[in-house]
């Protein structure tokens, strides 16, 4: 009896996934069946302008990829460098302070980073590069803030992976005359590779799904551009803006957020599956 009840609790998680798939699938299906919408145009159209019935997801997708790339350009090298420093170089005392601090920082709500992007990074960019080049809302500052948001996440997971590599491996390399850097790069990193790659994929997936930073700082209005100093709305930013007003249930806007949501879900789902598969397949097991 108790076992059945507990099983039901576990089964809720399956129901959640089914719920997500059914809800997104059904409403997206309704969206694609509308006479105004053409599924081919949805994936290839270069304009997203609901008021003239143009539903091409490319402008939203490119700006999502743009902010994500900027974020990862910051977060991957710096996050890994921080992880290597903490696990291989820092002394125990420094590490004991910095590691929990990292985890604490990873818990700051993303809206705070959005505020930071809009009130600090954007003015900074406008002073350095020029107010006539950098718009008030731009994907660059959103991407940078996102990079700072994801840095602790990648650093923390990578550090876990690096610390899990047994000391005997390091000692053996030192015994052969390797320098500290060589041990870190040539011995420890390859041994922890699966964890590092998983952390990076997780970071990318997080950046793609990140909403509040882009909603605050990246600007409203879809815009097909690769210029990081222009405003451009991402997939998540669009969903938030559309649903922020009083959305009526029968409108084409309402259905369109499910179609965008479905694309978003499929991308992040594929990335998450990939990261789990990598961890399972390439994990080195040490006794």
């Amino acid at each position: 009896m108790i076992q059945v009840l507990l099983f039901m609790a576990g089964f809720i998680s399956i129901l959640t996934t089914i719920g997500i798939v059914v809800v997104l699938g059904k409403e997206a299906w309704l969206f694609f069946r509308l006479p105004e919408v053409n599924i081919w145009d949805f994936f290839t159209g270069i304009k997203w302008q609901p008021h003239i019935n143009k539903f091409g997801i490319l402008p939203l997708l490119t700006s999502t990829l743009l902010t994500t790339s900027i974020a990862m350009m910051i977060a991957i090298p710096l996050g890994m460098a921080v992880a290597i420093y903490l696990s291989e170089y820092a002394d125990v005392k420094v590490r004991k302070v910095l590691k929990p601090a990292l985890e604490l920082l990873a818990g700051i709500p993303t809206i705070v980073y959005g505020y930071f992007a809009l009130t600090m990074i954007t003015p900074l960019l406008r002073t350095i590069i020029g107010a006539d080049v950098v718009e008030i809302y731009n994907t660059g500052s959103a991407g940078l803030a996102m990079g700072i948001l994801i840095l602790p996440l990648i650093a923390s997971i990578c550090e876990d992976a690096l610390s899990a590599v047994p000391t005997t491996l390091r000692d053996a390399a030192y015994g052969l005359g390797a320098t500290k850097l060589e041990v870190a790069i040539k011995i420890v990193m390859p041994a922890a590779l699966s964890g590092i790659i998983a952390a990076i994929i997780l970071g990318i997936s997080r950046a793609i799904g990140e909403t509040m930073i882009v909603a605050v700082a990246a600007g409203a209005g879809p815009n097909l551009t690769l210029n990081p100093f222009e405003g451009a709305e991402t997939m998540t930013g669009h969903i938030v803006r559309i649903s922020g007003g009083d959305l009526s249930y029968d409108s084409i806007d309402y259905n369109s957020i499910f179609a965008i949501g479905l694309v978003l879900f499929l991308i992040t789902f594929a990335l998450n599956m990939m990261s789990q598969r990598i961890v399972r397949k390439f994990r080195e097991v040490y006794e």
């Binding site: 507990l6 809800v23 920082l105 709500p109 505020y115 930071f116 009130t119 840095l151």
Partner: protein
């Protein structure tokens, strides 16, 4: 032969210097990255504190000194006199509006005074500066203030902290002078209450099932993989799910109509209950994963001893496994709850209200929460709202810091070594 060896060893020494040099420069690069990370994150916190305090110029259309009655200054009059003053100076429509939200006689003295300041004296912040400017460019601020006094003779220059008792006690408002976060704080608390109510028992139950009962078959493996996947789904997707399921399909339940509950202020299914359940779904995988780890950490010997004494499986779990795993479970739950408190995107999608000034009174009330408030205030271009948003961020961060501290204390206090 000897010559050859010599050459080899000198080659080794040559590269050794190079290797050590590159080792040193990379060491510096790693250190620099760490310092950059710390600097970036300190910049974030400093930026917020910087906007949350500073000089402001406050202007009154009517000088408070004019309001003295029989030589008693405005600030020393009784609350009844103040209410009378409000009644004398406001239109019937505006008065009714205020009374509808909360009766004037039931409001605190402080609240009445701030109403007088904004409605009667027409208090207005006409200029504001950041903390940095207030400290390092004080003389320029004073020159500018003196300049301003020519057009605004009643203007006062004041050093103020935007985060103060008034901000927390006042309800949400469309004017920056009277806007507060009470509505949002209460909204957050109500929402989180339902999140915990929903996610904690389910999460712990699922964790017990997966760790203690589940055999290694396809369905249990599916559940486990699925939970790991759900933890990585973007939060906004949960918002869309909540909008479709809780707000629309379960509208009779989430709007309270099923219980014969008709609150004139509710906006169909866009209620606290819907928001709480949506966040519950969001944190459920986190609670399950954390609880599983806590249960796994309870040593097998404890279970075997219990079985050896003739206890049933459930007795063993209830009396031995759970009490020992509880600190870990609670720590994980607190961390999941902090995540829920800071979540904004799903609640915007579920339909947080943009402008409500009354406190939530039931699960079926409209809602706004702290992060939503920050989002809305940040989106407004005027600088007063930015200051208010910064102040609210500080409040939110302190709240989250307290929760994390509680989690760490709990872990340290009850941590057992087997």
């Amino acid at each position: 032969m000897i010559k050859k060896n010599m050459r080899a060893s000198s080659g080794f020494t040559d590269t050794l210097v190079l290797r050590q040099r590159s080792g040193k420069s990379w060491h510096l690069a790693f250190l620099a990255s760490t310092i950059f990370g710390i600097l970036a994150l300190s910049a974030l916190l400093i930026n917020i504190v910087n906007s949350a305090m500073g000089y402001v110029v406050i202007d009154f259309k009517i000088n408070p000194a004019v309001m003295a009655v029989n030589g008693i200054a405005l600030g020393e009059q009784t609350t009844e006199q103040w209410i009378q003053l409000l009644k004398d100076n406001l239109s019937t429509g505006a008065l009714n509006k205020l009374e509808n939200v909360e009766h004037l006689s039931e409001r605190s003295r402080r609240e009445i005074y701030s109403l007088i300041e904004t409605r009667v004296l027409k208090k207005e912040v006409i200029e504001s500066w950041s903390l940095y400017d207030s400290v390092f460019h004080k003389s320029e601020i004073i020159t500018e203030y003196l300049h301003m006094q020519e057009t605004h003779p009643e203007a006062q220059l004041k050093l103020m902290s935007w985060i103060n008792g008034d901000l927390i006690m006042r309800s949400q408002s469309s004017e920056a002078n009277t806007a507060g976060i009470r509505t949002a704080v209460l909204g957050s608390l109500w929402t989180i209450f339902f999140t915990i109510l929903f996610a904690f028992p389910l999460g712990v139950g699922a964790a017990i099932y997966l760790e203690e009962y589940a055999r290694d078959n396809w369905i249990n493996r599916l559940i486990q993989t699925n939970i790991n996947n759900l933890a990585g789904v973007p939060s906004i997707i949960y918002g869309i799910l909540g909008l479709a399921i809780f707000v629309r399909v379960l509208e009779p339940l989430s709007s309270g109509a099923l219980f014969g509950f008709t609150d004139p202020t509710t906006a169909n299914g866009r209620t606290i209950l819907s928001a709480g359940l949506t966040l519950g779904l969001l944190v459920l995988p986190l609670i399950i994963i954390n609880s599983q780890e806590a249960i796994r950490a309870v040593p097998q010997s404890l279970r075997k001893a219990s079985y050896g004494l003739g206890a049933t499986k459930w007795q063993t779990i209830w009396a031995h496994v759970l009490p020992n795993a509880l600190p870990g479970i609670l720590t994980g739950t607190i961390l999941a709850i902090s995540r829920a408190i800071g979540e904004t995107a799903p609640l915007v999608v579920v339909g947080a209200s943009t402008a409500i000034s009354f406190d939530p009174t039931s699960p079926f009330s409209k809602f706004t929460t702290l992060p939503i408030q920050i989002y809305q205030w940040t989106s407004r271009p005027q600088s007063e709202w930015r200051h208010l948003a910064a102040a609210t961020i500080i409040f939110l961060l302190v709240l989250l810091l307290c929760l994390s501290a509680a989690a760490i204390l709990l872990r340290n206090r009850f941590e057992k070594k087997y």
